[in-house]
């Protein structure tokens, strides 16, 4: 078991990097004890919010002990978090979830997919794939030409930008782009909206690639106690003994073949 605590951390910086999208950096020792695909529970500043907000780790700097999260304002909780300034305190429940199995990519052709607000965790993932995979192609799906974070992926592989409205890069979705490029990955890592993940599951089945997808569900405890965050599974789950698995604990990353989405 890795880093597991609720702690009060200090905000190092926070800035809006795109309309409604924030880049939050906090000081915590968790930065040296986490892997890509894991997430943290960020508590909104007001005590009226009793539940943490699950936010993926976008990047971690073990030397500076800085954990970076990039998130979109979705409601009251994230709105409260977005008001935090450098020096403010923020409570975190960390580190949660399993993370992407990167060893599987050893000497393999890899595709990384990120869609919308599913892009942030794929940055840390792409960084860590360097030196493991044989080749990495990165597909980032945006709504329009507001391509937050895209530049930061450049050192990690071939970056393919895709926009729904065609205003930049490939037009359509990330699957349209990979088909157009005729790239055949052996291993896939993905986070994004459910329709994208469903399409990736099918793409992987068709091409024989191994696909690891990161899922979302509403959470209460984040540690596997409340059974709030489950996803249907193909096989009986070892913990629950029914066809349900806890996204916060057995996930959020699953082999696409194992889950029914």
């Amino acid at each position: 078991m890795s880093y597991r605590k609720k702690e009060t951390t200090t905000v190092v910086s926070q800035e809006m990097i795109s309309e409604g999208i924030f880049d939050l950096r906090v000081k915590t020792a968790a930065a040296s004890d986490c892997v890509p695909g894991q997430f943290v529970g960020v508590f909104p500043p007001s005590d009226a919010h009793i539940l943490m907000r699950p936010i993926s780790i976008c990047d971690a700097d073990p030397d500076g002990q800085i954990l970076r999260m990039v998130y979109r304002i979705a409601g009251e909780g994230t709105k409260g978090i977005s008001k935090l300034k450098a020096g403010d305190e923020v409570k975190l429940l960390s580190v949660l979830g399993n993370g992407f199995p990167l060893e599987t990519a050893k000497d393999k052709k890899v595709a990384v997919f990120g869609g919308g607000i599913g892009i942030p965790p794929m940055l840390y993932t792409s960084e860590k794939l360097q030196g493991i995979s044989k080749e990495t192609e990165i597909y980032l799906g945006y709504r329009n030409s507001d391509t937050f974070l895209a530049d930061e992926f450049k050192p990690c592989g071939t970056v393919n930008i895709v926009s729904e409205d065609g205003s930049i890069g490939y037009k359509g979705n990330v699957l349209d782009a990979i088909r157009e490029r005729n790239y055949r990955p052996e291993v896939i890592y993905a986070c994004g909206p459910m329709p994208m993940l469903r399409a990736i599951k099918i793409f992987a089945e068709e091409t024989g690639a191994l696909a690891y997808i990161s899922l979302e569900e509403r959470m209460a405890c984040g540690v596997g106690a409340c059974l709030g965050c489950v996803c249907k599974t193909v096989h009986k789950d070892a913990h629950s003994h029914v066809n349900n698995t806890r996204i916060c604990t057995e996930g959020p990353v699953f082999d696409a073949r194992e889950v029914e989405i």
Binding site: R4, K6, R218, C221, V223, A225, C226, L227, G228, N244
Partner: protein
Amino acid sequence: MDTKVTIAGVELKNPVMTASGTFGSGMEYSDFVDINRLGAIVTKGVANVPWSGNPTPRVTETPSGMLNAIGLQNPGVDVFIERDLEFLKQFDTPVIVNVCGHTVEEYLEVVERLADTNASLLEINVSCPNVKQGAIAFGQKTEALFDITKRIKAVARQPIIMKLSPNVTDIAEMARAAEAAGADAVSLINTITGMKIDINRRKFVLANKTGGLSGPAIRPVAVRMVYQCANAVKIPVIGMGGIATYEDALEFIMAGATAVSVGAVNFANPYATVEIIEGIEKYLQDTGTQSVKELIGCVR
């Protein structure tokens, strides 16, 4: 200074326990709290066979609280005995097993399977608002509650705690029915049925439409109900509903609770139970109170 309390002959080192369904079987929170510090651990509801529970979303936040409609997902009593009860054997903390079922027969089957285990007490959940059949149906009519209590009491090897629903007109009447049927204690409150609507999607937030409200939002309702029940029956009352601090716990104890459970607040603060125990110890010391027992029902 003495923090010990007794429920149906079972001594607890302090009056603070976990609320069923919010602490798993302790495994998930043992990274945060020393289970040995707890007065007792109350496990997630368990049925005779595995239950899959409700579709998702199952949880959502509400002001100072949350709604849940887990639907009593559980691995069934056989796995529970082999894995969860086995895990809990390593601690010097009494285990209270929360039992659920769709029919009286299902409850009886679980109770009988637990007879020779390390469960010290059984808490009978007749108050879960999130399953369609059974469960709460037994907890909303005095005759039904009396009947199921009597039938479980007849076969149970351990003392039984009937867990009462707040979704009734008169909870004191329910406590009296449980006592009359032979219950060794009552615990309250289970969650209050609620609903949340997503106005943008024009849909219910929870797949189950309704869910049970818990957390600090329900605390004053719970304190009032504990007071009413404690004044209606002689058996011990276990109080819960939104307890977050030792001050909250003492409110319940002064209203008449012999012990208290911490539920949804574990999610907000995984250290809550131990902090509450330490707070009560300090309160006793600071106020020169010999025993926590002196505080039980001291406000009349």
